[in-house]
């Protein structure tokens, strides 16, 4: 066993050296027109060697290390406590929720402008993740092209405003419905697919939408994107310094206060908050309804579900459609927040991040997904100092998380249903 470990550890260390030394250990230096290769600074070389030693040691003592890591949940007092009584837990849940919402309402008035802007982004991700949670977490359909529906929502608003001057409030339902329609249409061809095959085809769809947006230059402006997307208005009041559209008034003049760019940011945040809360409530309701249970039944056992009279086609399509609907919501808000969108915002990485949020949060669990959305959006911002290592830190956090808690931050809890006693 020990000999085997040693061999394995040695092997890993050598692989580390082979991979990292050529990349980090040499520099290209240009002298005039010729490019020469020269060795890197000693500190870098030492760093690479040190990394190899660390890999060697980790692999050598891996079993003990991982063993103690696995003990962690047991040390955590929350894991082994007795399940709380039903009524008490419900009360605690609602108190916590109320506090969270109150906190979220106060937040924009105490935080800095940048923080509020970032929070709006968090809320958009919450909407996206809650929507994807329906498809992946509840219905068990691995969708890697979810960003396509987000793009549909965003581009619907951008195009409608550019060509027809449609306002945010009109575009919001249209964007969501159009995204839902796309979900429905794209759902048909993948009905028979499951697991890996489904993942690959949805991935393809995501890319098709992005490439279409990129190449339909006449309509979408291609890679240049669409700019000048208007901000939302509050009962016809605009938040800009000057009124852009005839017939509108401006917010700061109506209330006789000084103009501040912050008003708009706060207003957008509040809209996103309201929409995120609506999304959460609607999906929570759906989960307790026949459709929600049908989604889960299909995830658990498709054959049994069919044998009980569930129409697989209808159940799957409803999951795709409803998931896409909320992505459309999020897309419209995103377009309005940025004021400018281009296909760059809807790359595969975006789908991957939303999926990561769902998995990290705990499939099917709304609270978990919300927490994970906050963590995943804010962590990279906090790690800004390490700018180029941000993705690395992000990835490492994800790996650790999956080793330590594969079921996610807050795994889904089953709904307790009280039955009447039989006489």
């Amino acid at each position: 066993m020990a000999a085997h470990n040693l061999k394995h550890a040695l092997f890993c260390a050598i692989v580390t050296l082979i991979i990292s030394y050529p990349i980090l250990g040499f520099n290209l230096a240009s002298e005039g027109t010729t490019v020469t290769l020269e060795g890197a600074k000693t500190s870098t070389v030492v760093g690479v060697l040190l990394a190899a030693v660390i890999v060697f040691l980790f692999q050598l003592f891996r079993d003990t290390l991982m063993g103690s890591l696995r003990q962690l949940p047991a040390v955590n007092p929350l894991t082994n406590r007795k399940p709380m009584e039903q009524s008490k837990r419900l009360k605690l849940d609602s108190v916590l929720l109320t506090l969270m919402i109150i906190g979220a309402l106060i937040w924009p008035f105490i935080a800095s402008r940048g923080a509020v802007d970032l929070s709006t982004l968090v809320l958009i991700y919450i909407m996206l993740a809650l929507g994807l949670n329906v498809v992946v977490g509840l219905a068990g359909l691995l969708d890697l092209g979810y960003v396509a529906f987000y793009a549909v929502g965003a581009y619907t608003f951008a195009l409608l405003s550019q060509y027809y001057g449609v306002s945010f409030w009109f575009a919001l339902p249209i964007g969501a419905l159009l995204a839902a329609l796309f979900g429905l249409v794209l759902g048909f061809p993948v009905l028979r697919l499951r697991g890996d095959y489904l993942a690959i085809v949805t991935l393809g769809f995501g890319e098709i939408i992005r490439i279409l947006l990129n190449n339909m230059t006449n309509l979408t402006g291609g890679p240049n994107g669409i700019g000048g997307i208007p901000d939302p208005t509050l009962f016809g009041m605009e938040f800009g310094r000057r009124v852009k559209e005839e017939g509108n008034t401006s917010f700061h003049e109506t209330f006789g206060i000084a103009y501040s760019g912050e008003h708009k940011v706060i207003f957008l945040y509040l809209i996103a908050l309201v929409l995120a809360v609506i999304t959460a409530i609607a999906i929570r309701r759906l989960m307790r309804m026949p459709v929600g249970r049908a989604w889960e039944a299909l995830r658990e056992d498709e054959i049994a579900a069919k044998s009980l009279g569930l129409n697989r086609t209808a159940v799957k399509l409803s999951a795709f459609t409803i998931g896409a609907f909320f992505a459309g919501f999020a897309g419209t808000v995103f377009a309005s927040k940025q004021g400018f969108i281009s296909p760059e915002s809807f790359v595969f990485l975006e789908s991957a991040i939303i999926l990561a949020i769902v998995v990290l949060g705990g499939m099917g669990s709304q609270m978990g997904v919300i927490l994970a959305a906050i963590a995943v959006t804010i962590l990279p911002e906090l790690a800004r100092e390490f700018s180029e290592y941000r993705m690395l830190i992000f990835g490492a956090a994800m790996v650790l998380m999956m080793v330590w808690r594969p079921q996610g931050l807050l795994p889904m809890r089953r709904i307790h249903i009280e039955l009447k006693k039989q006489e």
Partner: protein
């Protein structure tokens, strides 16, 4: 009530079911027996719409159902259990029973979101029916456990309860006694008889446990290597030479 005429099912070169016929009348328990691999489950799969038979007819309440989609057949009142228990394991026991009552989802999407009185009344009815059947199969205390955590015998009973909440007219049980201990088998025996007597359900039953089959069946069909071998009352089957030969030859 159910009539299977010359049913055949071919998988590539293998004729798994060859010209099998059987009929089930109202208020009757009919057993299908036969050695392993005889094609019994395949007959069930054809009847419940999982396979499209390559030959023959299946009539349920006078209408042809062969080749109809599975979910439509079960909505007609023909539901089944599986040889290997198929529960929604990560859902609770009650949820399993509720899902079974959700055949017409689309009609109540909006009324559900708005939680209208009509919707609530329907939901309450489903809950009551679930509670009734949980009590009936002795799983009331398990109502909010995850179905996958139940003991094997309990899972079997839950699967039957899940069929019964759909208020079927014909119930197809694929080896319901497999893996049960003698006491559990006796309970099952009683439950099946009561399904017929008290709830007026006809039962088609695949089973290897001969004492159970002989006890409760009104009629028995024997299949061997996909072909019908014999059919008749338990007494007739017991005395049938072909059947004895097939079973002894097997053993």
């Amino acid at each position: 009530m159910l009539e299977v005429q010359n049913l055949s099912m071919r998988f590539g070169g293998l004729l798994a079911v060859d010209q099998v016929s059987l009929d089930v009348r109202e208020h009757e328990i009919v057993a299908i027996i036969g050695p392993n691999g005889a094609g019994k489950t395949t007959v069930f799969n054809c009847m419940s719409g999982f396979y499209k038979p390559t030959g023959g007819k299946i009539l349920f309440k006078g209408g042809e159902i062969q080749g109809k989609p599975d979910y439509k057949i079960s909505r007609l009142g023909l539901v089944r259990t599986f040889q290997h228990v198929r529960l929604f394991s990560r859902m609770t026991v009650v949820e399993n029973l509720l899902v079974a009552q959700h055949r017409h989802l689309n009609t109540n999407l909006l009324s559900g979101i708005l939680n209208t009185p009509n919707y609530r009344e329907k939901e309450q009815k489903s809950l009551d029916r679930a509670a009734y059947w949980l009590d009936r199969v002795g799983l009331t205390d398990m109502a909010n456990r995850e179905a996958g955590n139940l003991a094997y015998g309990q899972q079997r009973r839950l699967e039957i309860a899940r069929c019964m909440v759909t208020e079927p007219e014909l119930l197809m049980l694929d080896e319901p006694a497999a893996g049960l201990n003698p006491a559990e088998t006796k309970d099952l025996n009683q439950l099946i008889i009561s399904l017929k007597e008290d709830y007026n359900v006809s039962v088609v039953l695949i089973e290897h446990d001969m004492s159970l089959v002989m006890d409760i069946s009104d009629r028995i069909n024997v299949i061997n290597q996909g072909r019908p071998l014999a059919s008749g009352t338990p007494d007739e089957i017991r005395r049938n030479d072909d059947v004895i030969k097939a079973y002894l030859g097997e053993a």
